[in-house]
């Protein structure tokens, strides 16, 4: 467990640091290069800055559009909702926090799972919703990830899981820690059937999510500059009493230390994942034209 993200869900909904109106169009400023561009330019490019390539946060719906054939997900277990097993309150009751997260994110919990296709490959797909309480893993997230692997095992499908999470959900206490064991157990049963797991690490992936299934992919892929690590920067700085080096716990740092296989731009992610799965499953190369035209006769 690491830092609980200190931002409130409302802040997290903003993909780009500032939105401003200039005349009739809405303009937005890139987090990294300060380019100010029409908002549509960011949206059309899946929140990747057209000037410098900075990856801003992308909503679950846009991830579906980007990665899945026809943007279509046949969702599983969407009805599962969190409860409040510890009657937890920190001034604001956990049940109230759930209600406001559900309202602002228009989702029941911090993950969606289901069946989909990527460049024709059938996959079991999961994606964290960072906007829902920092993508933290409580009982529902743990349960849905376990079901994702179990259903994928039964249907003999690869699993592609997009992670963006601050770690375990503190408000569910020790039960959230137990989700780490539950999910990894389900993953190992999937692995036993020689079915691939592609772990996609987005910004940020830390704490209990990092320390359970995140690094156990057959292939681990990260987005450029994504923050990925076990302990939060503040905790480390307090412990060792020194400033952390530039680029610490970023995707490039992890690649250099041998913890991930590849860093991939969001815009190339779909073909990247589909090619990996085709290699692992020894399927033929995907050809765009064949997928859109009728199968050859004879």
């Amino acid at each position: 467990m690491t830092d609980w993200p200190s931002k409130k869900p409302a802040d997290l909904d903003l993909d780009v640091s500032s939105k401003r109106s200039f005349g009739k169009g809405v303009f937005r400023k890139c987090d990294a290069c300060d380019a100010t561009l029409p908002a549509e330019a960011f949206e059309a490019n899946f929140e990747v800055c057209p000037e410098c390539g900075q990856h801003h946060k992308l909503s679950a719906g846009r991830w579906r559009d980007l990665l899945l054939d026809d943007g279509a997900l046949e969702e599983w277990d969407a009805h599962l909702e969190p409860s409040d097993p510890l009657s937890f309150t920190d001034g604001k009751a956990y049940s109230d926090r759930i209600a406001s997260a559900q309202k602002s994110s228009r989702a029941k919990e911090a993950i969606e799972i289901g069946r989909a296709k990527m460049n024709g490959v059938e996959i079991a797909y999961g994606a964290f919703l960072f906007a829902f309480m920092g993508g933290s893993m409580g009982s529902v997230v743990g349960e849905k990830i376990a079901r994702l692997f179990e259903r994928a095992t039964a249907a003999r499908m690869p699993v592609v899981l997009l992670q963006a999470s601050g770690g375990a959900r503190m408000q569910e206490g020790i039960l959230s820690l137990m989700q780490m064991a539950k999910t990894v157990g389900a993953l190992e049963r999937h692995r036993d059937e020689a079915l691939p797991f592609i772990s996609v690490l987005l910004h940020p992936t830390t704490g209990g999510v990092a320390a359970s299934f995140a690094f156990l992919g057959d292939v681990n892929i990260a987005e450029p500059k994504a923050l990925i690590g076990f302990a939060g920067a503040r905790v480390i700085e307090t412990t060792i009493r020194q400033k952390l080096p530039e680029g610490f716990q970023r995707a490039e740092f992890l690649l250099a230390h041998g913890m991930i296989d590849r860093i991939t731009s969001r815009l190339a992610m779909k073909s990247e994942i589909a090619r990996l799965v085709r290699h692992i499953t020894r399927a033929p190369v995907f050809e765009e034209t064949r997928a859109s035209s009728p199968p050859p006769s004879g």
Binding site: P85, A168, M170, G173, L177, G185, G229
Partner: protein, 317 residues
């Protein structure tokens, strides 16, 4: 070892000390035996009364008590023929986790446990029981080996958490912990874990994916330290007592949430007042658990462990 007394322990410590003195007397002079029995009975009752109302935060302090028995104190009392094994085979040796073969009632087992140090010097060596990736990779290597050779795995959990540092991140603390969870999930042998002190988050769970999980009466198990929780929630680490209450991290809570299977009663005043008695409680629970698990086949054991964790959690379907 230097005596260290928490404020709320004082009355109990005084009683326990008197019992100890009288016991020494009774050993040489039988006329004290009757008085010893009476005082023991009284001390036990009083200690139980005084400790009945401990707050969660006081229990956290007991779980971290510097005089509390650590893993090697149990190893010495519960096992024979201990042979320690070292190293992760890729980077180094981590003394914050001890591991090795030993015999439990004659039968060979693998022991893995976090080890805190006594005093400043040993704590530097043991890193206050906070493992680096090397410690977890040593554990993982030996879990795999035990599973291969059919040796039951006995773990002792006692850590504030995995170490948060630069080297730990560079060498993949997350992956090392995740790999332990996977290895324990796959193991085809009985696994019994006992939380003897602090069960700090993922760094503890890396020794905790067991068929049976026991906790000593004043042991704790939590997703985050109360200090960490308080500093996140209220930006104030000094509200740790309040956080300890909210986190439901004490033995009775853990039992109620099915996170542990058994709470082991500690001697009057806590395990550190009578490590031999604490060890007897751990031993007898371990013998029960291993006895039951020994009757299961390798596949059954992995299934039993999966089912145990599969049902943990609370949600609305």
């Amino acid at each position: 070892m230097a005596a260290y007394v928490l404020p709320f322990e004082k009355p109990v410590v005084e009683l326990v000390t008197r019992v100890r003195e009288l016991r020494a007397l009774a050993e040489t002079d039988p006329k004290f035996v009757g008085e010893l029995r009476r005082l023991e009975e009284k001390a036990g009752r009083l200690a139980r009364e005084l400790f009945a109302d401990l707050t969660p935060w006081q229990k956290v302090q007991l779980s971290r008590h510097p005089n509390r028995p650590y893993t090697l104190d149990y190893v010495e009392r519960l096992f024979t023929d201990f042979q320690e094994l070292h190293g992760d085979r890729s980077f180094g040796e981590d003394a914050a986790i001890i591991a090795g073969f030993a015999r439990f009632r004659g039968e060979s087992v693998l022991i893995v446990g976090q080890q805190k140090g006594r005093g400043a010097k040993e704590n530097v060596k043991r890193n206050f029981g906070m493992p680096h990736p090397e410690g977890y990779r040593k554990a993982k290597r030996l879990y795999d080996m035990a599973s291969r050779f059919g040796l039951p795995i006995v773990t002792f959990i006692d850590t504030p958490g995995a170490y948060p540092g630069i080297g730990a991140e560079e060498r993949g603390q997350s992956e090392a912990i995740g790999a332990c969870l996977a290895s324990m999930a796959r193991a085809r042998v009985p696994i019994v874990a006992t939380i003897i002190g602090e069960g700090g988050s993922g760094g503890a769970l890396a020794l905790g994916v067991a068929n049976r999980v026991h906790v000593l009466e004043y042991g704790t198990y939590s997703v985050i330290t109360p200090e960490g929780c308080a500093s996140i929630l209220w930006r104030d680490g000094s509200k740790a007592d309040e956080a300890a209450d909210r986190l439901k991290m004490t033995a009775p809570d853990l039992l109620r949430l099915n996170v542990v299977d058994r709470v082991l009663e500690e001697p009057a005043g806590g395990a550190h007042q009578d490590p031999d008695a604490a060890a007897r409680a751990v031993e007898s629970a371990l013998a029960d658990a291993l006895g039951t698990l020994r009757r299961m086949g390798p596949g059954e054991l992995a299934d039993d462990r999966y089912k145990r964790f599969r049902k943990l959690g609370a949600y609305v379907a």
